[in-house]
Structures are given as structure tokens and as C-alpha cells.
Amino acid sequence: MFRELNSNAAPPAGLRIVCALAIVGLTLALIAAVVVSGPAAPGLQAAVAAALPHSGVENPVTAVLLNFRSYDTLLEIAVLFVVAVATLPLRRAVAPQRTEAVAVEPVLAALVKLLVPLVVLTGGYLLWVGAYAPGGAFQAGALLAGAGVLLSLAGGFSLAALPARPLLVVGLVVFTAVAAAVGAITGAFLQYPVAAAGVLILVIEAAATVSIAATLLLLYGNLAEPVPSGPLAGTKEPAS
């Protein structure tokens, strides 16, 4: 089923038809289950609205992500960390030695120089505004990563120059540390004191933003500039 990595041979028509019929049947059954079960049950919006004044933020989605269900978000940052660890190139010595330097157009470079501070600023704004309106750490982190991609495209900087390890891990460390520290004060892991909740959430989000941006940038960098990694450290394709 998942055997072929890269073949262009289509599976036999019979198999495709059986597969398609099975999936159509399954899909219709699921749709039927949803249709016959009538309107959705009342959700948690009332509970969220009631607890929102004690959450330290005004945006309900941020309140859910970073306060009510912050444990999920902590583990989600751990998911990103898994992928960062799994793909982080280990040997700096053989880092990118691209012979053909990317020919950077002066217009593009100038445009990027103008654009990047703007993107970074927008990222910071998104991070801050997440407490009140749509926005937050993940959106801000993605924007910052976008700025990094732009910069590297313009040849402005090399991803290998970043102090990657501390940046990648800071979100997880700060989040866990705050979770444990507030636990010592309030008695429950991840329970912020109400008065400090807004500030603590902003601290966590700022650290998370840095790690998210660094991770996303790393993931892009790994694919865009082929750096040998891990056990394959010797198998670098010749720079031709």
C-alpha cells in the first residue's frame, strides 16, 4: 500500500475501483450519520465565556489555547520540538558550501530589506494582539519564519549562522518552567494566579513564538539548502 516511494506506475484499475467504492461508501455512511443525528449538541462556549474574565486575556481562542487547555499547547510545542530534534543538522563543519552563489537581484534585496522589518513588526503585533483579538504565538511565529525565509532567499543570511539550539528549546523550557512555578504558588500545575495570568501568558507566548519561528525556519532550511544530517553526514551530493 505504501510500498512505492517514487514510482509513477498507477495501481491496477480493479484495485482502484474497489478502493474508490469502499471510500465512497464509507464517506456516505459518515455523512448519513451526521445528517440523521440532527443539530450539534451545545458546546463549551458558555463555559468559556463564564471563565474568560479570569483567564487574563480577552480573546477566547487564546484563552482556550494558553489557559484552559494550555496542557495541549505545551504538548503541541513538544511535537514541534520532536521534529526539530529529528531534522536538526548535527555537523556544522560541513554546513552549506554552495558553490553557485544565488545571484541576488539588487531590486529584490532592497525590497526584502524593506519588507523584513515590516514582517517582523507585524509578527510582534500579532503576538501582542493575540490577547485581545485574533492572533497569537503560532501566527506570529509563522510570520517571523516567513521573514527568515525571505531573508535567506535574498542571500542576506545563512540559516546555519543562527544559535539554533537555544532558540529551538526556549519555548518548551519557559512553558514548562512557568507551568511548574505557578503550580508551586497556586497548587495546580499550569494554574496561573489570576492577577498575573495576562503577563505570564504573554511571556510564554513570546518564548513559544521564538521557538516556533526557529523550528519552522529550520524545517524550511533543511529542505531548501541540503545540509547533511545525522547518520548520513557523509552522503552529501557533490556541489556541481
Binding site: A33, L44, N67, R69, D72, L74, F81, L90, P231
Partner: protein
């Protein structure tokens, strides 16, 4: 009560390995520091033992909840521990400790070690988080950590077979997660909560419940590698580094099985049917037979052990038909759950011992092609001995954990009046004997054209055979300490049901 309260320790079962992951990542240039990981694993073991002890000493004999963030379900997320969860955490910590010690000697190349340890700790995070989870969406996130960390660990070895196995494992894992998530989405649509206990009270037999149950089941079966969906497991488990194979077979597949048991027998039990339970049992029985036969036919040592995992997982699914449909939301307990939980633990120890032994042999011989492993017993006596003991446990020979586990399972089958499962259990034992003795037979006979001293065999660090041996010893010890394990298991089960079980016994 003293200042030590059990629930307050629960978040540390997740927090401690999380911090260890971050620390081992930040300090990965420090080669000598790898032994600190063993210290961390010892701390995790101590924590798990403390939790188990407090759980067993608790006067209420009830499961314990912990509200993260102080909100409480359904708005917040809770952690929940009962006897079943406690034992899973304990076996995770115990195996985690032995495997960590082993890994300190196994991963000597700095690059590999630097990547292994953070991933290893994240695997521990995910396992503990799965066993403590009380929230359906939280389980999705923990399953993703578990799946991605496991894939990254399989890929650690490098080399085309390992990478391809990892890629297939990843795609299957993602498919499983998404099926599970769609099931959770439908549950939330129908009942408006994600908390497992609340869902357990709200769920009733309805089309949307059945759809959710089906999706969750398929998703988790993919991750547990039950028979028709097992195709990804042998290559992934056989091509990973030895301690990773051990953890995958012993713990990771059990995590999704644990969730299946929770969903079928607790949370969604109102939506299950007796036929569905029987189908799971039949698939399990088929897995025992097919997996064993493929193990007999396999040509590589680690592949034999991996197919054996497919077979042994099949036994676990006898839980479903034997447990039957609970008349009310009674909690997971009783003789059948005891038998299956005991089986999980016994198999975890035996299979980990086997994978470590196989890994030692592979490292010493430079390959694990069993047609060229003649006389390996002379060169790797301790590893072979560990393999033999673990094999005896898989077959179900006394005195071993595997013997007690099968004996409990047979009793449960007779009590449930479903004697036909006996055939599977006995046939599975005989088939296991065939593949275990096939290996032992080769290992103890010298082949004619054996060049004894022609190739200098690398000397393994002392810890590697000792690790395998220690796990084999634990497997035997388990056989002598069954009662204590069974007592812990009944925590969180209402006394009424226990009394009923007592009469049945």
C-alpha cells in the same frame, strides 16, 4: 495525610521527562553527560514507583483525578490514574530505566547519541501522557508526539531500509491519527465535551456514536498493528536500533491498545455491540496465527522478533470478547483485565529482552541473517541465554511471566464460557515454540564451514548483554510475583464488581 499527595505527582510524570528532553538537547555536546540520562531515568522510575505505592496505599481504592490549570473538565483538561494506568506507567518507567542504561553503552557515536536522547525522553513524555490522559483531544496530541518521536527514532539508524520503514510508519501513523481525530470531532459534535468520563456518561447508541467509534477504532488499530493493518510494523521494528525496537514493541504499540481498551470498555461502551467485540477477538486470534507463521518463515533474527510482536499483540485482543459489554460504566477491572494487563507486562519485559539480545547478536556478528548465525551461542552466551528465557516466556513455559499471563487468560476464557479461544492460546504457544527453537537450534550447532576465528568479532561493552539478561530475569521474577501486580490492577474498580469477580473465582 502526609504532605505527599498522589495527584500532585501526576503532572511530574510528564514534566520530568519533558525537562530531561530539553536538558539532553541543550547539553548534547557534552558526551560524558549521557550517563546523566540514566540518572534521569532512575528518577522517573522512582517517581513511578512512588506513584504506584501511593496508589496502592490509598484508602479509597479509587482512581485519582488531577485538574490541570485548576479549571476542571469539561473546560480544562484532567489527568486520571487508576490501577491499569498506574501499572502501565510503572512498566514504562522500569523498562525505560533498563533501556536507558543499555542505550548509554549502545549509542557511542556522538551524533547518534545527541539525537537519540531528546527523542527518547519525548517518547517517555508521550507514553506517560497517554496513560494519564482523560481528554479525547489531549490523546490526539500525545499520540502525535508518540508517533513522530517513534518515527524519528526508527530513522536514527540511517540507511535506506530504516528510512523507508520510518516513512511508511509515519504515513500510517498520520492516517491513524486523523481517523482518530475525525472520530473525536464527531463525538464533540454529538455530545459537546471532550472529557472521557463525561463522554462515558453521555454516549448512547446512535449513528454518530457508531461512526465515531468506528473511526477511533480504525485509527487506533492502525497504530496497534492488528492483523490486517500490521504490514508496517515488522520493517519498522526490525530496522530500528535495538533499544528503540525494544521500546516500540514493548511499550509504544501497547499505548494505542490501552486507549482501545479504554474507549471500547469504558468511554464508548454504550455504542459497542457484542458482535463488534467478537470481531476484535477473531482478528486477534488470526493475528496470533498469521504473525507466528510469518515469524517462523522470516530469515532475519530481528524480523522474527518483530513478527512475534504481531502475534503476541493478537492475544491482547482476546480482552474484548472475554470482557464483554459492561452493564454500566464500571471501570476497567476484573479477572479478564487482570489477565490482559499481566500479559502486557510480561510480553513487554520478554520482548524487550529479546530485542536487546537480538541487537547484541547483530552488533557482534555484523548482521542478523539467521542462516549465518551458527554457533553464535558460544560467542554471545549471555545474550543467547536472555533470548532463550524470553522465548520461554513467549511460549508460556513456567516459571515465567508469560506462563502466568497465559494461565490467567485461559482461566478467563473458561470463566466467560468461551472455551474456543483456548485453541488460539495453545496453538500460538506451540507456534512460538517453533520459531524460538529454530533460532536456538541454529545458535547451538556449529556449521561445518564455520570459520571460527577468521573474523575478529568486536567485543561488546559489558552492559549490552547484561541489559538483555536483566530484562530476562525480570520476566522470570514476574512469574513469582503475580499476586501483587494483580492487586494494584483492581484500584479504580468499584467494589461491587470486585465482589462479583470474587464469587466468579
Amino acid at each position: 495525610m502526609s504532605g505527599l499527595s498522589l495527584p500532585a505527582l501526576l503532572p511530574w510524570l510528564v514534566g520530568l521527562p519533558l525537562l530531561a528532553a530539553a536538558a539532553s538537547f541543550a547539553g548534547q555536546r557534552w558526551v560524558a553527560g549521557r550517563w546523566l540520562n540514566a540518572v534521569g531515568a532512575a528518577a522517573q522510575l522512582a517517581l513511578a514507583v512512588l506513584v504506584l505505592w501511593l496508589l496502592a496505599a490509598g484508602d479509597s481504592g479509587l482512581g485519582q483525578r488531577y485538574t490541570l490549570g485548576g479549571w476542571g473538565a469539561p473546560l480544562g483538561i484532567d489527568l486520571y490514574i487508576d490501577g491499569f494506568a498506574g501499572l502501565m506507567i510503572a512498566i514504562t518507567a522500569a523498562l525505560g530505566f533498563v533501556l536507558s542504561l543499555y542505550s548509554c553503552s549502545y549509542f557511542t557515536e556522538p551524533d547518534q547519541a545527541a539525537r537519540f536522547w531528546p527523542l527518547w525522553w519525548l517518547l517517555m513524555v508521550a507514553l506517560n501522557a497517554v496513560f494519564l490522559a482523560a481528554d479525547a483531544f489531549n490523546i490526539y496530541v500525545t499520540l502525535e508526539i508518540l508517533g513522530l518521536a517513534a518515527v524519528a527514532l526508527v530513522a536514527l539508524q540511517g540507511g535506506r531500509p530504516a528510512l523507508q520503514a520510518a516513512l511508511r510508519y509515519l504515513l500510517v501513523g498520520l492516517l491513524g491519527s486523523l481517523c482518530y481525530l475525525l472520530g473525536v470531532a464527531l463525538l464533540y459534535r454529538a455530545y459537546g465535551t471532550l472529557d472521557l468520563a463525561q463522554l462515558g456518561q453521555l454516549v448512547h447508541a446512535a449513528p454518530l456514536s457508531w461512526a465515531a467509534l468506528g473511526l477511533i477504532t480504525v485509527g487506533l488499530l492502525l497504530k496497534t498493528a492488528l492483523l490486517p493493518l500490521h504490514f508496517w510494523l515488522p520493517p519498522a521494528h526490525a530496522n530500528a536500533p535495538a533499544p528503540v525496537s525494544a521500546a516500540l514493541s514493548a511499550l509504544v504499540v501497547k499505548a494505542s491498545f490501552y486507549l482501545l481498551a479504554r474507549f471500547w470498555l469504558e468511554t464508548l461502551s454504550a455504542a459497542t455491540t457484542a458482535q463488534g467485540l467478537q470481531v476484535l477477538g477473531v482478528l486477534g486470534a488470526a493475528a496470533v496465527l498469521v504473525g507466528s507463521i510469518q515469524a517462523i518463515r522470516a530469515q532475519r533474527l530481528k524480523l522474527i522478533v518483530a513478527y512475534s510482536t504481531v502475534a503476541q499483540l493478537g492475544y491482547l485482543f482476546l480482552l474484548f470478547p472475554l470482557f464483554g459489554r459492561p452493564s454500566d460504566t464500571a471501570g476497567l477491572g476484573g479477572a479478564v483485565v487482570d489477565a490482559v494487563a499481566y500479559f502486557i507486562i510480561a510480553h513487554a519485559c520478554a520482548k524487550a529482552a529479546m530485542f536487546l539480545a537480538a541487537g547484541n547478536i547483530q552488533r557482534a556478528a555484523g548482521h542478523d541473517d539467521i542462516s549465518r548465525l551458527h554457533g553464535i551461542a558460544r560467542r554471545q552466551p549471555l545474550s543467547l541465554f536472555a533470548f532463550a528465557i524470553a522465548g520461554a516466556s513467549l511460549i508460556g513455559l513456567p516459571p515465567s511471566g508469560g506462563f502466568v499471563a497465559k494461565w490467567l487468560l485461559l482461566n478467563a476464557a473458561i470463566d466467560a464460557g468461551q472455551w474456543w479461544w483456548l485453541i488460539t492460546v495453545i496453538a500460538g504457544g506451540l507456534l512460538a515454540a517453533v520459531y524460538v527453537f529454530r533460532v536456538l537450534n541454529l545458535a547451538f550447532t556449529d556449521s561445518a564451514e564455520q570459520p571460527p576465528a577468521a573474523e575478529a568479532q568486536p567485543v561488546l561493552p559489558r552492559l549490552l548483554p547484561l541489559g538483555a539478561f536483566a530484562l530476562a530475569i525480570i520476566t522470570v521474577l514476574l512469574g513469582f510475583n503475580a499476586l501483587w501486580v494483580l492487586e494494584v490492577l483492581d484500584i479504580g474498580v468499584p467494589p461491587l464488581q470486585l465482589a462479583a469477580d470474587g464469587e466468579a473465582l
